[in-house]
């Protein structure tokens, strides 16, 4: 196991773009954890100073101040916490639901399998963002509901993926062999199929993180995310619209942050795919 991890890391380090992605994400995590230390005005998440509103970037305010006179830089750091929490929990829940559904539907060939896949088809039939907006709107704006909306609309992607991979793995000799030796369905699914399809799940999860962060920002932008005065990035961009183009820093900082993080996850996801799944490796690359 340790050897595999080391191998992965070495491969990752040799792939420059993937390494960049990993670096960005590491940075995001560090920033989120150390937000109270790194921020210059940690109180500004809930505390405002109207006389200092819409100040341009300076030594005191790296990214200027917002409409309430709060430090954009400090709020950005605390916003990273929300972003990570939403992405990790929503994707975690999607994976926890999607993998078992996909495994069961893929392993068995009966009505349960059909029913599970038709249900996930229903979810996939509606554009994910539209469904997420509808759910978040119905439940009301809050972080919990954004997570719920994202999880509810994301799990079918994993269910589909795991289903297809399981179906193809079932034809492999090692699965046939273990079934012939009398292994129970659960044993086959968890000890034989799952480890062998894990690479595509990992790749999908990494890339999915980026998508989730983007969708969460969209929900925040539309006012369906955590309510004011939350420093959530999408909401900050929505607030800043009134003050464009004069207060350019107000929208630019969270905009860049979203861009970087989403790009980071995509680069890392691409890199991981190259390493773990040589079949779909990018052309012109090792």
């Amino acid at each position: 196991m340790l050897e595999t991890t080391l191998f992965l890391l070495r491969r990752l380090a040799s792939d420059r773009t993937a390494a960049l992605g990993a670096l960005i994400i590491t940075l995001l995590v560090v920033v989120a954890i150390a937000a109270p230390v790194l921020s210059t005005h940690p109180g500004d998440v809930t505390e405002f100073h109207p006389p200092e509103r819409l100040l341009p970037p300076s030594d005191d305010h790296f990214f200027g101040t917002d409409r309430m006179g709060a430090d954009v830089y400090s709020r950005l750091l605390f916003g990273a916490r929300i972003t990570i929490a939403i992405a990790v929990i929503a994707i975690g829940a999607s994976v926890l639901v999607g993998i078992p559904v996909g495994l069961i539907a893929g392993y068995y060939r009966n009505w349960v399998s059909d029913a599970l896949m038709r249900i996930s088809d229903i979810f996939l039939a509606v554009p994910q963002i539209v469904l997420a907006i509808a759910i978040a709107q119905t439940l009301g704006p809050s972080i919990e509901n954004v997570i719920l909306a994202l999880s509810a609309t994301y799990w079918p992607f994993w269910a589909r993926l795991v289903y297809a991979e399981t179906r193809s793995a079932l034809n492999d000799t090692y699965v046939e062999a273990s079934i012939a030796l009398g292994a129970s369905p659960w044993r086959v699914m968890i000890l034989h199929v799952l480890p062998n399809i894990s690479s595509s799940v990992i790749v999908r999860t990494t890339i999915g993180m980026g998508g989730t962060i983007l969708t969460a920002a969209v929900l925040g932008f539309l006012g369906l995310g955590p309510p004011a005065p939350s420093p959530e990035w999408g909401r900050t961009i929505a607030e800043s619209r009134e003050f464009l183009p004069e207060a350019w820093w107000y929208a630019t900082a969270p905009g860049l942050a979203i861009f970087l993080v989403v790009m980071g996850f995509n680069l890392l996801g691409d890199g991981l795919r190259d390493i773990l799944d040589p079949r779909t490796r990018r052309s012109g690359d090792g």
Partner: protein, 523 residues
């Protein structure tokens, strides 16, 4: 991006086509052009009796006429569809004599249409209904002949005449012909026009807005306006930046006069835009749900009032573009007392009052309106203050149609809600009488506030014909409401009406906000 450009191109093409049609059907007068107004809220209905707000006032005053109408600033009331009005000595009988006027379909406006219109309002119980409820009984309005309408009130009302402009006259025959299952024609009238107003509806799409062409046979005639408009369009543009940019590059010719101050500055700097500044009557305040614990406790309400940073809000966030108004009445309206200084941002006093609260504390919900950044900033500022004295709060931002629905429901209403109260008619009753009279609870009184003494003063002022008594009563009611911290009263607004430099003749009136387009022309 390409999609946007394309649709804009199509829209421009349609606009040209519509213009051509308009010119073809209009009289041989000189082409007066088309005026596009970027409206901040969507016109979900055009039925003049279903709505009664300022965001959707243009369809009422441009497509319809009332017996009386408000003009200019400070507003004065003039006969409009009526030629004259006589009031009996007991103040109960109002006799209106109609002018010669025609509806858009060519049929004459008759007294029976006026009777039908007021009966329709009373039966629909929507829009301006609450203004007439209890004063005008169904069936009490008569049309002795085609030109005479007699309103008989069941109690004297000092504000009746002031509210008559809201009786928009609809074409009875036309509405009845389009009635479905006794719906009073609501379904049909929500997207069609049965009026006699200066403009005649040509197109309506709830998602886009509406368009109307000049009605040449309007009773008032068009001689007074040189080169009047051919076509008016009220297009829904929710995004503030789109409205401002559209105005600066000439796509729009006007938009609402209550933009954030940062945008007003930007518009004023543009050479394509004139910003018309006028003293208005539109107060900004927070409703406090007085009927729910702990806001039932006057000390808690005072703590709230002391926890709002009035100075920071008015001078910093709004760059001093508005005037502090410590009472629920615009300070330029008669009846506003000069001796009330109001609350200041004083957290020590807030904490003092909070310590005296006997009700158990809990998390307080602060409501704000989506798309109106100012309400959210006010809520955040109050939250900031309340945080410091240990009151937990949660901000809920919802669109106006949602909020206005909740405002009528005691259970669903937010604990507090920041919003404006505009002028629907220029009388103190428009503010005090509606916001704090006991009988208006759940209708226009969304504070669930009912104070015996205040209610007595307001009821008396509502029926008295003695101006001195009315003024004294309103002043006293204001003092009591401020003392009671019935709401958090913040400011009275100014109107900064941005119009294209090509536009002339805008007549601003706090009722209608300068959106009566018959006086306007465009180069």
């Amino acid at each position: 991006m390409r999609m946007l450009d394309q649709s804009a191109g199509v829209r421009r093409f349609l606009a040209v086509a519509a213009l051509a049609v308009g010119v073809a059907t209009a009289s041989p007068a000189v082409a007066g052009g088309k005026f596009v107004f970027a409206n901040s809220s969507a016109y979900d209905t055009l039925d003049p009796h279903a709505i009664f707000d300022v965001g959707r006032v243009a369809s009422r005053i441009n497509l319809y006429d009332g017996l009386m109408r408000w003009f200019d600033n400070p507003p004065h009331l003039e006969p409009w569809l009526a030629e004259k009005v006589e009031v009996s000595d007991d103040g109960l009988t109002y006799t209106f004599t109609l002018r010669d006027a025609t509806f858009h379909d060519g049929s004459p406006v008759e007294a029976s249409d006026v009777v039908y219109s007021i009966e329709r309002i009373l039966e629909m119980k929507k829009g301006a209904f609450s203004l007439f409820a209890g004063t005008v009984e169904p069936g009490s309005t008569k049309a002795p002949d085609a030109r005479t309408v007699v309103f008989t009130l069941n109690k004297p009302s000092a504000i009746f005449l002031a509210t008559v402009p809201e009786v928009h006259v609809v074409n009875e025959e036309l509405v009845r012909a389009n009635e479905v299952d006794g719906d009073l024609g609501t379904a049909w009238l929500s997207k069609n026009d049965a009026g006699s107003g200066s403009f005649q509806l040509t197109r309506y799409d709830p998602a886009v807005g509406w368009q109307a062409k000049r009605f040449d046979d309007h009773f008032f005639g068009w001689d007074m306006v040189e080169n009047p408009l051919d076509i008016i369009e009220f297009r829904t543009v929710v995004e503030i930046n789109s409205r401002v940019l559209g105005l600066m590059n000439g796509d729009f010719h006007g938009t609402d006069g209550y933009l954030p101050q940062d945008q007003v500055k930007r518009l004023a700097a543009s050479e394509n835009v004139n910003v018309d500044e006028q003293e208005s009557m539109r107060i900004f305040y927070s409703i406090i749900h007085n009927g729910r614990s702990p806001m039932t406790d006057v000390n808690f309400r005072k703590a709230l009032a002391y926890a709002f940073d009035y100075d920071g809000f008015i001078n910093n966030i709004l760059s001093g573009s508005v005037a502090r108004d410590p009472v629920p009445l615009p300070n330029n309206m008669w009846g506003a007392p000069a001796d009330v200084t109001g609350y200041t941002y004083d957290l020590d006093k807030a904490a003092e009052h909070l310590a005296m609260v006997k009700e158990p504390l809990r998390e307080i919900t602060l409501g704000a309106l989506a798309g109106y950044g100012q309400t959210e900033q006010a809520a955040a500022l109050l939250q900031n203050g309340l945080n410091k004295i240990g009151v937990e709060t949660k901000i809920v931002t919802e669109p106006w149609p949602v909020a206005s629905g909740k405002m009528r429901d005691e259970q669903q209403m937010y604990d507090l809600l920041f919003l404006w109260k505009s002028t629907y008619y220029a009388d103190p009753n428009n503010w005090l009488g509606e916001m704090y009279a006991c009988e208006q609870i759940g209708a226009r009184n969304n504070s669930w506030y009912c104070n015996e003494e205040v209610d007595r003063l307001l009821s008396e002022a509502r029926v008295s014909t003695d101006q001195a008594v009315r003024q004294a009563n309103y002043e006293q009611a204001n003092r009591l409401l401020a003392e009671d911290a019935a709401g958090i009263f913040v400011y009275n607004t100014k109107w900064f009406g941005p119009f294209s430099t090509r536009v002339k003749g805008v007549r601003f009136c706090p009722i209608g906000n300068g959106q009566e387009m018959r006086w306007v022309s465009i180069d």
